[in-house]
Symmetry: C2
Subunit: 346 residues, 2 copies
C-alpha cells in the first residue's frame, strides 16, 4: 500500500468556516484514496460539522486548536502570539513532518507569514512567492508573485520564473512552459528598472522557455504559461482580473434583466453562458501555492466553498507525488539536507 499524503487543513479560516471547509475535506477524502486530512480547529465546532457526513474515518482526523486568527489581525504578531491557533498548529505539523501540506482559507497575511516563519524556506530560495492560477481563454496561467513581499529584486524574479516553470510542468502537466515577464511593451528595452535588469537574466536561463515580455492586455488570452512579476504588480493583476470580470458579468446580467424581451432571451442563453463563464471561475483550480517552502502551503480564497477546498487538497497530492520541492531544490541550487532554519525565533 502506498503511503498516504497528509494535508493539514485550517478548519477555522475563511468566510464559510468550518462548514464548507469540513465539507470540502470530506469530498476530497471520498474522491481520492491516497489523501488523509487533519482538520485543525476548535474541536467541538469541527466535530459537529463532520458528523453530518459519511467518510473513511481513518482518513480524517480532528486536531484541536482552540485559538483563531482573525482576518484583520496584524499577521506577524498573530503568528507569534497565537501558538494554539489553527494556522500555527497546522503549519507546525508541516514543519515537523506530521503533514505534507497545509491548506487554508484564512488571512492571507497570516498564511504568508506562517509559511515563512514556521514551515521555512528551502535553502537557496530567497523569497517564497504566492502563485495563483489565473483562468484564460485557453486554460490557465500561473501568476507569480502575488504575495505580500513587494519591491522584489531581479534575482527573486528569476527564482520565481524557475519555480513557476517547475510547477506548471509537473503539477499542471504543461510541457516546456512558456515563461514571460510582465512589461509595458514587447520590446526588450522597455520597462521599469526592475524589468530591464531581470530581462537579460531570464534570457540567459537555458532551463527556461523564456518568451520575453507580456503586456497585461495579452494575459487573458493565455499566451504564456508562467507570468512573472513582482508582488505589487501581481496583486494588481490578480485583483483587477477579478474586479473587471465581476463587474462585467454583473452588467451583462443587469442588461439581460432590463426588458421582457431580454429576460426571455436570458432564459435561453443561460445554460450556454454558464458553461462559458465557468471556465473563468477560479474555484475549480484550487488555491494558490506558496512556493519554495519546505512543505507545501496552499492559500485558497477567503470566500472558498467546499469545491475549492476539495480541489486545493487534491492539488497537494499531485504536488507531493511529483516531488515538486525536490525539483525546486535542484533547480534553485540549494542542496538537500542543507536547509536553512525556518523557525526564525518562533
Amino acid at each position: 500500500m502506498q503511503e498516504l499524503i497528509k494535508v493539514a487543513v485550517d478548519a477555522m479560516g475563511g468566510d464559510h468556516a468550518p462548514q464548507e471547509i469540513v465539507k470540502g475535506a470530506v469530498e476530497a477524502v471520498n474522491s481520492q484514496s491516497r489523501v488523509k486530512v487533519f482538520l485543525v480547529g476548535q474541536k467541538a465546532a469541527v466535530q459537529a460539522e463532520l458528523q453530518k457526513y459519511q467518510y473513511d474515518s481513518s482518513r480524517i482526523e480532528i486536531v484541536d486548536a482552540p485559538e483563531v486568527i482573525g482576518m484583520a489581525e496584524p499577521p506577524v504578531q498573530a503568528i507569534r502570539t497565537k501558538k494554539n491557533s489553527s494556522i500555527v498548529v497546522a503549519m507546525k505539523m508541516v514543519k515537523n513532518g506530521e503533514a505534507d501540506a497545509f491548506v487554508g482559507a484564512g488571512s492571507t497575511g497570516a498564511v504568508l507569514v506562517g509559511g515563512q516563519l514556521i514551515v521555512g524556506r528551502i535553502k537557496g530560495v530567497e523569497r517564497p512567492p504566492l502563485a495563483p492560477l489565473m483562468p484564460t481563454e485557453k486554460g490557465v496561467s500561473l501568476l507569480i508573485d502575488c504575495g505580500a513581499n513587494v519591491d522584489a529584486r531581479p534575482s527573486h524574479l528569476v527564482q520565481f520564473a524557475k519555480m513557476g516553470s517547475i510547477y506548471m510542468e509537473h503539477v499542471m502537466g504543461v510541457k516546456n512552459p512558456r515563461v514571460a515577464i510582465v512589461n509595458i511593451g514587447a520590446e526588450e528595452e522597455k520597462g521599469n528598472a526592475l524589468v530591464k535588469e531581470t530581462f537579460p537574466l531570464l534570457k540567459a536561463c537555458s532551463e527556461l522557455n523564456f518568451t520575453g515580455s507580456i503586456e497585461a492586455r495579452d494575459i487573458p488570452s493565455g499566451c504564456a504559461d508562467v507570468i512573472v512579476c513582482e508582488a505589487f504588480a501581481g496583486n494588481i493583476i490578480l485583483k483587477l482580473y477579478e474586479g473587471v470580470g465581476a463587474t462585467l458579468i454583473s452588467m451583462v446580467k443587469k442588461g439581460m434583466m432590463s426588458s421582457l424581451r431580454s429576460k426571455i432571451g436570458a432564459l435561453l442563453v443561460k445554460p450556454a453562458l454558464k458553461e462559458t463563464l465557468r471556465r473563468f471561475d477560479t474555484s475549480q483550480y484550487g488555491g494558490a501555492p506558496l512556493l519554495g517552502l519546505k512543505g507545501l502551503v496552499v492559500k485558497t480564497h477567503g470566500s472558498s466553498k467546499a469545491v475549492e477546498v476539495r480541489n486545493s487538497i487534491l492539488q497537494c497530492v499531485t504536488f507531493t507525488e511529483q516531488q515538486i520541492n525536490e525539483k525546486i531544490r535542484a533547480g534553485i541550487g540549494g542542496k538537500e539536507n542543507q536547509e536553512g532554519n525556518g523557525s526564525h525565533g518562533i
Copy 2:
C-alpha cells in the same frame, strides 16, 4: 463673436488614418461652432478624404506635413529627425500658439516625447502624466499616470493627484473629486516603498479630497474619481482592463452561439446587452490628455474611429474654455509667464 478654439490634428496617425481622422474632424466642426481644426498631414491624401464631406470651410484647414512617424519607430529619434512629420509640425503649432491643442492617434511614444520636447512642460510640473478615462459601473474614473515615464517619485504622484483632480472637476464636472492611490490593501501601512512614502504626502494636501488606498479589484465599480499610480502600474491596469473586457465579451458571444437555443436567446438579449456594454466602451470618452504641458496634448487610441476623434477634439474645447492649464499652474505652484523652456534642443 468668441474666439475659435484651434486644434491641430495629426491626420496621419492611427490604424484608420487619414479616413477616420478626417471624418472625425468634420463631425467635430459640424457639431461645435467654436472649434477650428488644422488637419496636419500629407496634403493630397488629406484633401482626397476631406472633399467627401460638407463643412464650414473656414473652420478646417489642411497643413502640409510630408513625413509620417511609424508606430514602431524609436520615439526620441523620430521626433528629433522627422521635422516635417505630422506629429512634429502639429505640435510646433501648439508650441507657437497657432493652435491650443494637439490630438493624435499615432505612436504613443512619439506623442509623449513630442509633448515634452516640443510643447514643453508648465513650469513646476516635474512630469507630464498621461491620464485616460476608464469606464466604470458608475461612470468614468481618471487613471493617472499611464505614460512612458516609469519609476516615478512620490512628488510626481502628488502632482498627478493635483492635476487629475483639477481635470475631473473642471473638464468632467465632478464636484470635489475623490482621489485614491492604487495599493495592495486598504490599510495605510500596506504598499511598496513608493506608495508608503506618497500616502502621507497626499493625506497632507488640504486641496485634495484624498480617500486613501484603492485596491485594483475596486476600480471597475467606480469608487474613486482620480486613481493615482506610477506609469508601470497604470499601464498594467489600463491594458488588463481592456484585455479582460475583450476576452470576456468574446467568450460571452461565443457562448451565445454554441447552440440553437442560445442563438435565439442571443437575438433577444442583443439590444439590451449592446446598451449595457456601450458604457464599457472607451471611445465615447475621447482620448487621454497628457497633462501639465503648455498646451493640451490628447492621445487617442491607435484604433480610433471618427467618433473617438470627434470626441477628442471636442474635449479640447472644454479643456481650453475651463482654463485647465491656468488652474494647473496655480495648483502646482509655478507662476505664469515664468514657464520653463520646453524645447530641450529640438
